[in-house]
Symmetry: C2
Subunit: 566 residues, 2 copies
Amino acid sequence: MDTFIRIDMTNLNIAVEKAPDAYELLGGRALTSRLVLDETAPECNPLGRRNRLVIAPGLLGGTGVPSSGRLSIGAKSPLTGGIKESNGGGTAAGKLARLGIKAIIVQGRPNNRAPYVVFVSRHRHELVACPELRLVGVYESAKRLQERFGSKVGIILIGPAGERFMTAAGVTNLDVDGVPSRYCARGGLGAVMGSQGLKAIVVDDSECGLRQPQRKPEFVAAVKELAQLIRTTPQTAEIYPKYGTSAMVRAANALGCLPTRNFASGRFDAADEISGERLHDLIVSRGGLTTHACMPGCLIRCSNVVLDREGGHLVSPLEYETIGLVGSNCQISSLDVIAEINRLCNDYGVDTLETGGAIGIAMQAGLLAFGDGEAAIRLVKEIGQASPIGKVIGQGAVLTARVLGVTEVPAVKGQMMPAYEPRGIKGMGVTYATSPMGADHTAGGTIRANVDHHDREGQIEASRNAQLSMGIYDALGLCMFVGSAVGRRVDLLASLVNSLYGIDWSVDGLTEYSRAILNAERAFNRRAGLTSAHDRLPEHFCEVQNPATQTVFDITDEELDWVVGN
Amino acid sequence: MDTFIRIDMTNLNIAVEKAPDAYELLGGRALTSRLVLDETAPECNPLGRRNRLVIAPGLLGGTGVPSSGRLSIGAKSPLTGGIKESNGGGTAAGKLARLGIKAIIVQGRPNNRAPYVVFVSRHRHELVACPELRLVGVYESAKRLQERFGSKVGIILIGPAGERFMTAAGVTNLDVDGVPSRYCARGGLGAVMGSQGLKAIVVDDSECGLRQPQRKPEFVAAVKELAQLIRTTPQTAEIYPKYGTSAMVRAANALGCLPTRNFASGRFDAADEISGERLHDLIVSRGGLTTHACMPGCLIRCSNVVLDREGGHLVSPLEYETIGLVGSNCQISSLDVIAEINRLCNDYGVDTLETGGAIGIAMQAGLLAFGDGEAAIRLVKEIGQASPIGKVIGQGAVLTARVLGVTEVPAVKGQMMPAYEPRGIKGMGVTYATSPMGADHTAGGTIRANVDHHDREGQIEASRNAQLSMGIYDALGLCMFVGSAVGRRVDLLASLVNSLYGIDWSVDGLTEYSRAILNAERAFNRRAGLTSAHDRLPEHFCEVQNPATQTVFDITDEELDWVVGN
């Protein structure tokens, strides 16, 4: 895994470079963030000619390590104005890694409007104009690309939202069934790819085997031990496979942090109707899948496949975050409505979190009623129609709020909060405020931290530790849910990296490695014009109580600054 | 002039305070910016409960000094995210000053939606709910308020755009004819006032005479000398009275800095059709006024009154900036169309610059054709209808560009550039980049600086000097056009202030006074999260030539930072 593929969209040229030595031990988010810092002018227009999109598998990508196939995508974000890394599962990262590709760097933009598709394989790199895919949804686009390039390829793909520069647009890639369902959803990276005139990257890893470790016995032993931990930890062995992430609905509601009514509260009366248990029964009753792997070799299989009433494929996966933002946040208690909105968002290529947040804002503005699922579906369809209001919603929650005159916006650095209400789980609020990524639960979730989530004690340490921990997972390309099984056995992660690369990192070394990622990201953000003034929650969370918990967000500015500095 | 009127919209209470001594010699922009810095949390939500709106006459307000009746309004801007001062002519400032009111400070927001009207006079301060004025245009609102409070009152007023939190919304006040035509237009201050539930402030200065100076003979002599200069300087004695600001159309076009086609060029083929000469003839042919004072005692009278084809009042005034933004920038060559759009913008209460900029963006996006005046009028009417696209346009150019997927946006710090293309007049570009106000010609115009406007030499000094000079005019409440007459006789300004207040400031002292304003504004902006990364022009101005001048904006980042530091 030692090449960079550089795609120059201005000159419609693909170059293969040997990755400089300095990048040898960087992968996933560590690599995308470093390359963005090194190559992208921090003050550039995120949708202009100077931004670059970086796509990278994690350090463990392309190996037999379970759940190591996360794909990282980075750029300057048109949503936050700062650096962004968004990662997702699927099949593309493993294929890139097996092709020896450390990163794909996309730069420039073509002078015509035809979207292009890049094909990479062991023997061939090709850039082809595909005007017939212009503004075609991801489901149909993926199907046509599979017909053209074969059913076993990986495809990194944007929908019409990205082509239209909507800043809620994400980048998807295929799951193990060939469905374009695994989104690097956040930060508007789909709009960056769209602004570069790139519709898809097709990855064909035929004739490529698994990557082989430098120290095989140690590697095999570590993989085996990790697999054993995953198989014996209740969270990864039982709860995730059965309920997926939606097991969190009831827990969050009980804790008072299930976002409800545009984050006015943390408790939703109808939470049971959208719970993991209810979703499980619905899926089973229609013959869908409750236990489903998004990437090859996943032992957890937290994904699911939801069928509609007639037994047809509705959406895969339906996850907690979407249920929280599109469901409780909009007081929508129908899983079918939530699933339908999820399917539409996926097809257009927009983040369900920004979209759910924007719907909640529109409801608060009175454009439609809280709880009106059919109106919400119609509103989401406007994104696909690119009507004026659809173009507004497609820009995400913050812009929607400005247009509709709503001043209570649950967002940080321009990015909508995910499905943890930050007065009900204060550590998560600390992460929202201080992560270089904007409001993002994957940047350092504290839900499993040993703290009283309603109390202010211990939250800044919990967030800081979680952010450092997540940097490791994001660099390795490991799914964060493996973390439930790994727990304190971070030595196992070190062992995997060490035996694969023939190095000797300590656990502390891994932490420092993660700190370097955060430092690089913060350096970029500072140069891009973000300051400590942006490391704050919206003021209403600090002033008005969450009625479910009777708490406000009372972590001080000084404490938030401590997190950034430590 | 020693009282603060503090309007608490949360508790619906008006308090009269003696202004603290520290504010005694602050007026206009010096006072609004200082009060914003001292009283407003820089990180606050500009449309939330913590922002404050500060309204102040200049230091010379309420006296017989010609053209000294500018009204300053300041707050944290919902458009730029930084501090804002916007000033305009009209009658309100003089009345406030004669009432002894140094500043009105509006804070909080009511719990109901009824807009309120404040009445202030020598004997009475009153806050009354006026639900009947909700979402009523400024022309009709002013008429009803005049019917209620008398024809001689001053009225500070917002339109429906401000009530709807549109960030292109300004604050207007009456001219000498009682027409609500003098806008403090920029930075979305109308949305701040709207978010506070305040529709209008009615100012009745009955029984109040002119303010009297401490040293009368010196004051009278200085006033006399200033009047003489105004009457004998060609610019203020002949050109402004005859053509108003629109004399600039031909000059700017010749220089290659007349914004054309969303600032793609600085030369408009049909510039003659929208020139000051053409406007003069049109006004005269219909029996309008080419020479019109916006405030009592103005000797320049650059304003005008434009009648429609039937001889009815169309709009007053029609100025260069509007002609540049709505006209050439949109390739609209009909003065009647431009005037009609101006009238609509005034009635809704939105800045014509943001609106013209947004129309140009919409034209570039293909929503309507460049030059299609009738379509442009229909689009502006959507602001009044508050349709989805109208709500987008009402948020100004930058947001419109994001929604419509346009990446070339002529704006700085979120604010649309006025009618000077910055590659064709580089000093103005320096001011756009470095002013704490965002892109703003009134923050330090360099059109009369002794430099080659196409060359990079001398531009940073010209901008820095102009910014320091403007601070003085903005603090004194003097119209910037007096500057053409004053020229290097800044000692005359010192003499006016000194004799009025009984002090002894030097010319250098005045410059240092102005520097303190800029420093206060920059301090606020830094705390609000603006950095040197925001003191830049959009990258396309630095990369692509203005075809009219074959120049790019080539002032370096270091040079821009020098302006901020000096």
